[in-house]
Symmetry: C2
Subunit: 180 residues, 2 copies
Amino acid sequence: MDAYEKLEKSRKRITESIAQNIHLYGLPPSAGRQFGMMFFEDHPLTLDDMSAELGMSKTSMSTSIRSLSEAKLVDRVWERGVRKDLYEVKDDWYQIFVDMFTVKWRRAVSLHTAAIRKSMAELKELKKADDITDELLAIIESDIEKLLYIREYYDWLDRLIDAFEDHKIFDLVPRLEEDA
Amino acid sequence: MDAYEKLEKSRKRITESIAQNIHLYGLPPSAGRQFGMMFFEDHPLTLDDMSAELGMSKTSMSTSIRSLSEAKLVDRVWERGVRKDLYEVKDDWYQIFVDMFTVKWRRAVSLHTAAIRKSMAELKELKKADDITDELLAIIESDIEKLLYIREYYDWLDRLIDAFEDHKIFDLVPRLEEDA
DNA sequence: CATTACGTACAGAAAAAACTGTACGTACAA
DNA sequence: TTGTACGTACAGTTTTTTCTGTACGTAATG
Protein backbone atom coordinates (compact mmCIF):
# COMPACT_ATOMS: atom_id res chain seq x y z
CA MET A 1 0.00 0.00 0.00
CA ASP A 2 1.56 3.25 -1.06
CA ALA A 3 1.34 6.55 0.80
CA TYR A 4 -1.58 7.79 -1.22
CA GLU A 5 -3.61 4.68 -0.49
CA LYS A 6 -2.83 5.04 3.20
CA LEU A 7 -4.08 8.60 3.12
CA GLU A 8 -7.26 7.46 1.42
CA LYS A 9 -7.76 4.76 4.01
CA SER A 10 -7.43 7.27 6.80
CA ARG A 11 -9.96 9.56 5.16
CA LYS A 12 -12.30 6.71 4.40
CA ARG A 13 -12.48 5.72 8.06
CA ILE A 14 -13.58 9.20 9.06
CA THR A 15 -16.03 9.43 6.19
CA GLU A 16 -17.58 6.08 7.02
CA SER A 17 -17.86 7.10 10.64
CA ILE A 18 -19.76 10.18 9.57
CA ALA A 19 -21.91 8.09 7.22
CA GLN A 20 -22.84 5.74 10.04
CA ASN A 21 -23.92 8.57 12.30
CA ILE A 22 -25.52 11.03 9.94
CA HIS A 23 -28.90 9.47 10.72
CA LEU A 24 -28.76 11.68 13.80
CA TYR A 25 -29.26 14.49 11.34
CA GLY A 26 -32.10 12.65 9.67
CA LEU A 27 -30.04 11.85 6.59
CA PRO A 28 -29.13 8.57 4.90
CA PRO A 29 -25.56 7.23 5.02
CA SER A 30 -24.83 8.20 1.43
CA ALA A 31 -25.40 11.84 2.33
CA GLY A 32 -22.89 11.38 5.10
CA ARG A 33 -20.39 9.98 2.65
CA GLN A 34 -20.99 12.95 0.42
CA PHE A 35 -20.43 15.32 3.32
CA GLY A 36 -17.30 13.50 4.45
CA MET A 37 -15.80 13.51 1.01
CA MET A 38 -16.52 17.22 0.61
CA PHE A 39 -15.00 17.87 4.02
CA PHE A 40 -11.62 16.63 2.83
CA GLU A 41 -11.77 18.57 -0.41
CA ASP A 42 -10.52 22.08 0.02
CA HIS A 43 -12.63 23.62 -2.70
CA PRO A 44 -16.29 23.78 -3.72
CA LEU A 45 -17.56 20.88 -5.81
CA THR A 46 -20.10 20.56 -8.59
CA LEU A 47 -22.71 17.82 -8.78
CA ASP A 48 -20.61 16.20 -11.51
CA ASP A 49 -17.55 16.24 -9.27
CA MET A 50 -19.45 14.50 -6.51
CA SER A 51 -20.98 12.04 -8.92
CA ALA A 52 -17.54 11.09 -10.22
CA GLU A 53 -15.97 10.97 -6.77
CA LEU A 54 -18.65 8.81 -5.18
CA GLY A 55 -19.59 6.78 -8.25
CA MET A 56 -23.25 7.65 -7.89
CA SER A 57 -25.76 9.17 -10.24
CA LYS A 58 -26.01 12.90 -10.62
CA THR A 59 -29.68 12.66 -9.71
CA SER A 60 -28.75 11.20 -6.34
CA MET A 61 -26.20 13.91 -5.79
CA SER A 62 -28.82 16.50 -6.55
CA THR A 63 -31.37 15.16 -4.11
CA SER A 64 -28.97 14.48 -1.30
CA ILE A 65 -27.21 17.80 -1.63
CA ARG A 66 -30.61 19.36 -1.18
CA SER A 67 -31.10 17.41 2.04
CA LEU A 68 -27.67 18.44 3.22
CA SER A 69 -28.48 21.99 2.33
CA GLU A 70 -31.82 21.99 4.14
CA ALA A 71 -30.14 20.56 7.21
CA LYS A 72 -27.61 23.36 6.76
CA LEU A 73 -24.55 21.17 6.49
CA VAL A 74 -23.47 22.60 3.17
CA ASP A 75 -23.63 25.95 1.44
CA ARG A 76 -24.06 26.80 -2.17
CA VAL A 77 -21.34 29.15 -3.29
CA TRP A 78 -20.76 31.20 -6.40
CA GLU A 79 -17.64 31.51 -8.43
CA ARG A 80 -17.09 33.90 -11.32
CA GLY A 81 -17.28 32.19 -14.65
CA VAL A 82 -18.57 28.87 -13.34
CA ARG A 83 -22.00 27.99 -14.63
CA LYS A 84 -22.49 24.87 -12.54
CA ASP A 85 -23.80 24.99 -9.01
CA LEU A 86 -20.99 24.80 -6.49
CA TYR A 87 -21.28 23.46 -2.98
CA GLU A 88 -18.97 23.35 -0.02
CA VAL A 89 -19.33 22.03 3.50
CA LYS A 90 -19.75 24.52 6.28
CA ASP A 91 -16.57 24.77 8.25
CA ASP A 92 -18.07 25.51 11.65
CA TRP A 93 -19.20 22.18 13.06
CA TYR A 94 -20.51 23.78 16.22
CA GLN A 95 -22.81 25.94 14.12
CA ILE A 96 -23.75 22.89 12.03
CA PHE A 97 -24.87 21.15 15.19
CA VAL A 98 -26.81 24.17 16.36
CA ASP A 99 -28.50 24.61 12.98
CA MET A 100 -29.45 20.96 12.71
CA PHE A 101 -30.78 20.95 16.24
CA THR A 102 -32.74 24.11 15.64
CA VAL A 103 -34.22 23.13 12.30
CA LYS A 104 -35.23 19.64 13.35
CA TRP A 105 -36.68 20.37 16.75
CA ARG A 106 -38.31 23.67 15.89
CA ARG A 107 -40.39 21.89 13.30
CA ALA A 108 -41.35 19.16 15.74
CA VAL A 109 -42.34 21.66 18.42
CA SER A 110 -44.40 23.59 15.92
CA LEU A 111 -46.32 20.53 14.71
CA HIS A 112 -46.91 19.21 18.19
CA THR A 113 -48.02 22.55 19.53
CA ALA A 114 -50.59 22.90 16.78
CA ALA A 115 -51.96 19.43 17.50
CA ILE A 116 -52.17 20.14 21.21
CA ARG A 117 -53.98 23.41 20.63
CA LYS A 118 -56.61 21.73 18.48
CA SER A 119 -57.18 18.80 20.77
CA MET A 120 -57.25 21.03 23.80
CA ALA A 121 -59.97 23.16 22.24
CA GLU A 122 -61.97 20.06 21.35
CA LEU A 123 -61.73 18.66 24.86
CA LYS A 124 -62.80 21.90 26.46
CA GLU A 125 -65.75 22.04 24.10
CA LEU A 126 -66.59 18.43 24.84
CA LYS A 127 -66.62 19.11 28.55
CA LYS A 128 -69.52 21.52 28.08
CA ALA A 129 -71.73 19.00 26.28
CA ASP A 130 -74.70 17.91 28.35
CA ASP A 131 -74.70 14.22 27.47
CA ILE A 132 -71.46 13.62 29.31
CA THR A 133 -71.35 11.06 32.07
CA ASP A 134 -69.28 11.67 35.17
CA GLU A 135 -67.01 8.87 34.17
CA LEU A 136 -66.32 10.38 30.77
CA LEU A 137 -65.88 13.80 32.29
CA ALA A 138 -63.14 12.42 34.53
CA ILE A 139 -61.34 11.03 31.49
CA ILE A 140 -61.63 14.33 29.68
CA GLU A 141 -60.21 16.20 32.66
CA SER A 142 -57.41 13.70 32.82
CA ASP A 143 -56.60 14.16 29.13
CA ILE A 144 -56.61 17.91 29.55
CA GLU A 145 -54.13 17.55 32.39
CA LYS A 146 -51.89 15.49 30.16
CA LEU A 147 -52.07 18.01 27.36
CA LEU A 148 -51.23 20.80 29.79
CA TYR A 149 -48.19 18.84 30.86
CA ILE A 150 -46.87 18.21 27.39
CA ARG A 151 -47.63 21.77 26.34
CA GLU A 152 -45.43 22.89 29.22
CA TYR A 153 -42.77 20.48 28.06
CA TYR A 154 -42.87 21.83 24.52
CA ASP A 155 -42.55 25.30 25.89
CA TRP A 156 -39.37 24.20 27.61
CA LEU A 157 -38.14 22.59 24.41
CA ASP A 158 -38.82 25.81 22.56
CA ARG A 159 -36.75 27.73 25.05
CA LEU A 160 -34.03 25.09 24.79
CA ILE A 161 -33.94 25.62 21.04
CA ASP A 162 -33.70 29.36 21.64
CA ALA A 163 -30.70 28.75 23.88
CA PHE A 164 -28.97 26.93 21.06
CA GLU A 165 -30.01 29.38 18.41
CA ASP A 166 -28.80 32.44 20.25
CA HIS A 167 -25.64 30.62 21.40
CA LYS A 168 -26.39 30.85 25.10
CA ILE A 169 -25.52 27.16 25.15
CA PHE A 170 -21.89 28.19 24.69
CA ASP A 171 -22.02 30.01 28.00
CA LEU A 172 -22.94 26.76 29.69
CA VAL A 173 -20.62 24.62 27.57
CA PRO A 174 -17.78 26.74 26.21
CA ARG A 175 -16.40 25.94 22.78
CA LEU A 176 -12.78 26.08 23.72
CA GLU A 177 -11.33 24.26 26.65
CA GLU A 178 -8.60 26.75 27.48
CA ASP A 179 -5.86 24.77 29.14
CA ALA A 180 -3.32 26.42 31.37
CA MET B 1 -70.12 11.51 16.40
CA ASP B 2 -70.67 10.75 20.07
CA ALA B 3 -68.62 12.02 22.96
CA TYR B 4 -66.47 8.94 23.12
CA GLU B 5 -65.56 9.20 19.45
CA LYS B 6 -64.68 12.85 19.92
CA LEU B 7 -62.36 11.92 22.77
CA GLU B 8 -60.73 9.28 20.60
CA LYS B 9 -60.27 11.78 17.81
CA SER B 10 -58.58 14.21 20.15
CA ARG B 11 -56.23 11.52 21.41
CA LYS B 12 -55.56 10.25 17.93
CA ARG B 13 -54.34 13.66 16.80
CA ILE B 14 -51.77 13.79 19.58
CA THR B 15 -50.71 10.22 19.01
CA GLU B 16 -50.26 10.77 15.28
CA SER B 17 -48.27 13.89 15.99
CA ILE B 18 -45.96 11.85 18.16
CA ALA B 19 -45.79 9.12 15.53
CA GLN B 20 -44.74 11.64 12.88
CA ASN B 21 -41.94 13.01 15.03
CA ILE B 22 -40.63 9.96 16.80
CA HIS B 23 -38.00 9.59 14.06
CA LEU B 24 -36.15 12.24 16.05
CA TYR B 25 -35.67 9.47 18.57
CA GLY B 26 -34.57 7.08 15.85
CA LEU B 27 -37.79 5.09 16.02
CA PRO B 28 -40.40 4.23 13.38
CA PRO B 29 -43.87 5.83 13.45
CA SER B 30 -45.53 2.69 14.79
CA ALA B 31 -43.38 2.89 17.92
CA GLY B 32 -44.61 6.46 18.30
CA ARG B 33 -48.19 5.27 18.02
CA GLN B 34 -47.48 2.68 20.66
CA PHE B 35 -45.99 5.28 22.96
CA GLY B 36 -48.85 7.71 22.38
CA MET B 37 -51.47 5.07 23.09
CA MET B 38 -49.69 4.05 26.27
CA PHE B 39 -49.43 7.69 27.30
CA PHE B 40 -53.20 7.99 27.46
CA GLU B 41 -53.65 4.75 29.34
CA ASP B 42 -53.29 5.22 33.05
CA HIS B 43 -52.00 1.76 33.81
CA PRO B 44 -49.24 -0.57 32.64
CA LEU B 45 -49.98 -2.65 29.55
CA THR B 46 -49.05 -6.13 28.42
CA LEU B 47 -47.89 -6.99 24.93
CA ASP B 48 -51.30 -8.51 24.31
CA ASP B 49 -53.02 -5.32 25.38
CA MET B 50 -50.94 -3.31 22.96
CA SER B 51 -51.47 -5.82 20.21
CA ALA B 52 -55.23 -5.62 20.65
CA GLU B 53 -55.26 -1.84 21.00
CA LEU B 54 -53.15 -1.14 17.93
CA GLY B 55 -54.26 -4.08 15.81
CA MET B 56 -50.73 -5.21 15.24
CA SER B 57 -48.97 -8.50 15.81
CA LYS B 58 -47.57 -9.36 19.20
CA THR B 59 -44.19 -9.88 17.58
CA SER B 60 -44.17 -6.28 16.44
CA MET B 61 -45.14 -5.11 19.89
CA SER B 62 -42.29 -7.10 21.34
CA THR B 63 -39.66 -5.65 19.03
CA SER B 64 -40.85 -2.07 19.18
CA ILE B 65 -41.27 -2.10 22.95
CA ARG B 66 -37.65 -3.13 23.08
CA SER B 67 -36.67 -0.14 20.96
CA LEU B 68 -38.76 2.14 23.15
CA SER B 69 -37.13 0.60 26.17
CA GLU B 70 -33.60 1.05 24.85
CA ALA B 71 -34.36 4.65 24.01
CA LYS B 72 -35.67 4.88 27.58
CA LEU B 73 -39.15 6.02 26.70
CA VAL B 74 -40.85 3.21 28.58
CA ASP B 75 -40.18 1.18 31.70
CA ARG B 76 -40.93 -2.38 32.49
CA VAL B 77 -42.86 -2.66 35.73
CA TRP B 78 -43.83 -5.52 37.99
CA GLU B 79 -47.16 -6.24 39.48
CA ARG B 80 -47.91 -8.94 42.01
CA GLY B 81 -49.64 -11.94 40.51
CA VAL B 82 -49.24 -10.83 36.89
CA ARG B 83 -47.17 -13.21 34.82
CA LYS B 84 -47.03 -11.11 31.69
CA ASP B 85 -44.49 -8.39 31.19
CA LEU B 86 -45.95 -4.99 31.94
CA TYR B 87 -44.81 -1.72 30.46
CA GLU B 88 -45.66 1.88 31.07
CA VAL B 89 -44.44 5.13 29.57
CA LYS B 90 -42.10 7.26 31.61
CA ASP B 91 -43.94 10.23 32.95
CA ASP B 92 -41.08 12.71 32.93
CA TRP B 93 -40.77 13.95 29.36
CA TYR B 94 -37.86 16.21 30.24
CA GLN B 95 -35.92 13.19 31.44
CA ILE B 96 -37.01 11.25 28.34
CA PHE B 97 -35.50 13.96 26.20
CA VAL B 98 -32.30 14.00 28.22
CA ASP B 99 -31.97 10.22 28.10
CA MET B 100 -32.56 10.04 24.37
CA PHE B 101 -30.10 12.83 23.76
CA THR B 102 -27.52 11.23 25.99
CA VAL B 103 -27.86 7.71 24.65
CA LYS B 104 -27.83 8.68 20.99
CA TRP B 105 -25.07 11.23 21.01
CA ARG B 106 -22.79 9.49 23.46
CA ARG B 107 -22.61 6.54 21.13
CA ALA B 108 -21.90 8.77 18.15
CA VAL B 109 -19.14 10.62 19.99
CA SER B 110 -17.60 7.36 21.07
CA LEU B 111 -17.53 5.89 17.58
CA HIS B 112 -16.23 9.06 15.99
CA THR B 113 -13.56 9.53 18.57
CA ALA B 114 -12.25 6.02 18.01
CA ALA B 115 -12.11 6.59 14.26
CA ILE B 116 -10.29 9.87 14.70
CA ARG B 117 -7.74 8.33 17.04
CA LYS B 118 -6.93 5.58 14.55
CA SER B 119 -6.69 7.84 11.54
CA MET B 120 -4.67 10.38 13.46
CA ALA B 121 -2.14 7.72 14.43
CA GLU B 122 -1.93 6.53 10.83
CA LEU B 123 -1.36 10.02 9.50
CA LYS B 124 1.36 10.77 12.02
CA GLU B 125 3.05 7.52 11.09
CA LEU B 126 2.69 8.30 7.42
CA LYS B 127 4.35 11.66 7.90
CA LYS B 128 7.54 9.93 8.98
CA ALA B 129 7.82 7.75 5.89
CA ASP B 130 10.71 8.72 3.65
CA ASP B 131 8.99 8.31 0.29
CA ILE B 132 6.67 11.25 0.91
CA THR B 133 6.67 14.13 -1.51
CA ASP B 134 6.29 17.69 -0.25
CA GLU B 135 2.93 17.85 -1.94
CA LEU B 136 1.66 14.78 -0.13
CA LEU B 137 3.13 15.98 3.13
CA ALA B 138 1.12 19.18 2.83
CA ILE B 139 -2.06 17.15 2.36
CA ILE B 140 -1.26 15.01 5.36
CA GLU B 141 -0.65 18.06 7.50
CA SER B 142 -3.92 19.49 6.29
CA ASP B 143 -5.80 16.30 7.16
CA ILE B 144 -4.25 16.26 10.60
CA GLU B 145 -5.42 19.81 11.12
CA LYS B 146 -8.92 18.77 10.18
CA LEU B 147 -8.88 15.84 12.54
CA LEU B 148 -7.64 18.08 15.33
CA TYR B 149 -10.55 20.38 14.67
CA ILE B 150 -13.21 17.70 14.74
CA ARG B 151 -11.65 16.06 17.76
CA GLU B 152 -12.01 19.38 19.53
CA TYR B 153 -15.61 19.55 18.36
CA TYR B 154 -16.36 16.07 19.71
CA ASP B 155 -14.84 17.07 22.99
CA TRP B 156 -17.31 19.93 23.12
CA LEU B 157 -20.15 17.58 22.23
CA ASP B 158 -19.08 15.26 25.00
CA ARG B 159 -19.21 18.10 27.49
CA LEU B 160 -22.58 19.13 26.09
CA ILE B 161 -23.88 15.63 26.73
CA ASP B 162 -22.51 15.85 30.27
CA ALA B 163 -24.46 19.07 30.75
CA PHE B 164 -27.66 17.27 29.80
CA GLU B 165 -26.88 14.17 31.78
CA ASP B 166 -26.14 15.97 35.02
CA HIS B 167 -29.06 18.37 34.48
CA LYS B 168 -26.94 21.51 34.27
CA ILE B 169 -28.99 22.27 31.18
CA PHE B 170 -31.90 23.04 33.50
CA ASP B 171 -29.88 25.87 35.03
CA LEU B 172 -29.63 27.47 31.62
CA VAL B 173 -33.17 26.58 30.56
CA PRO B 174 -35.36 26.12 33.65
CA ARG B 175 -38.12 23.55 33.56
CA LEU B 176 -40.79 25.73 35.01
CA GLU B 177 -41.52 29.18 33.78
CA GLU B 178 -42.55 30.66 37.07
CA ASP B 179 -44.88 33.50 36.27
CA ALA B 180 -45.57 36.25 38.74
C1' DC C 1 -43.57 -34.57 36.18
C1' DA C 2 -46.54 -32.77 32.44
C1' DT C 3 -48.93 -28.70 30.96
C1' DT C 4 -49.64 -24.19 29.81
C1' DA C 5 -48.57 -19.39 29.01
C1' DC C 6 -45.34 -16.27 27.64
C1' DG C 7 -41.71 -13.66 24.95
C1' DT C 8 -38.88 -13.68 21.08
C1' DA C 9 -35.73 -15.74 17.13
C1' DC C 10 -36.25 -16.48 12.61
C1' DA C 11 -37.81 -16.57 7.77
C1' DG C 12 -40.67 -14.73 4.57
C1' DA C 13 -44.05 -10.94 3.00
C1' DA C 14 -45.25 -6.21 2.70
C1' DA C 15 -44.07 -1.48 2.83
C1' DA C 16 -40.91 2.28 2.61
C1' DA C 17 -36.78 4.44 1.24
C1' DA C 18 -32.92 5.14 -1.69
C1' DC C 19 -31.07 5.11 -6.16
C1' DT C 20 -31.02 5.35 -11.35
C1' DG C 21 -32.07 6.80 -16.15
C1' DT C 22 -34.93 9.39 -18.99
C1' DA C 23 -37.04 13.45 -20.11
C1' DC C 24 -38.09 18.10 -19.56
C1' DG C 25 -37.80 23.16 -18.20
C1' DT C 26 -34.73 26.92 -17.76
C1' DA C 27 -31.00 29.88 -18.63
C1' DC C 28 -26.97 31.18 -20.75
C1' DA C 29 -24.21 31.29 -25.28
C1' DA C 30 -23.57 31.89 -29.91
C1' DT D 1 -33.24 32.65 -32.61
C1' DT D 2 -31.12 28.19 -32.10
C1' DG D 3 -28.16 25.37 -29.59
C1' DT D 4 -26.15 23.65 -25.46
C1' DA D 5 -25.42 22.78 -20.62
C1' DC D 6 -27.42 22.32 -16.43
C1' DG D 7 -30.49 20.81 -12.47
C1' DT D 8 -34.32 18.21 -11.19
C1' DA D 9 -39.23 15.93 -11.67
C1' DC D 10 -40.81 11.63 -12.36
C1' DA D 11 -41.33 6.64 -13.02
C1' DG D 12 -39.37 2.40 -12.39
C1' DT D 13 -35.92 -0.62 -9.94
C1' DT D 14 -33.21 -2.01 -6.18
C1' DT D 15 -32.28 -2.08 -1.43
C1' DT D 16 -33.59 -1.61 3.25
C1' DT D 17 -36.79 -1.57 6.84
C1' DT D 18 -40.90 -2.96 9.01
C1' DC D 19 -44.32 -6.28 9.92
C1' DT D 20 -46.33 -10.97 10.34
C1' DG D 21 -46.84 -16.02 11.46
C1' DT D 22 -44.64 -20.04 12.93
C1' DA D 23 -41.85 -22.33 15.97
C1' DC D 24 -39.13 -22.79 19.89
C1' DG D 25 -36.94 -22.01 24.66
C1' DT D 26 -38.06 -20.82 29.28
C1' DA D 27 -40.45 -20.45 33.43
C1' DA D 28 -44.37 -20.74 36.21
C1' DT D 29 -48.46 -23.90 37.54
C1' DG D 30 -50.82 -27.89 38.85
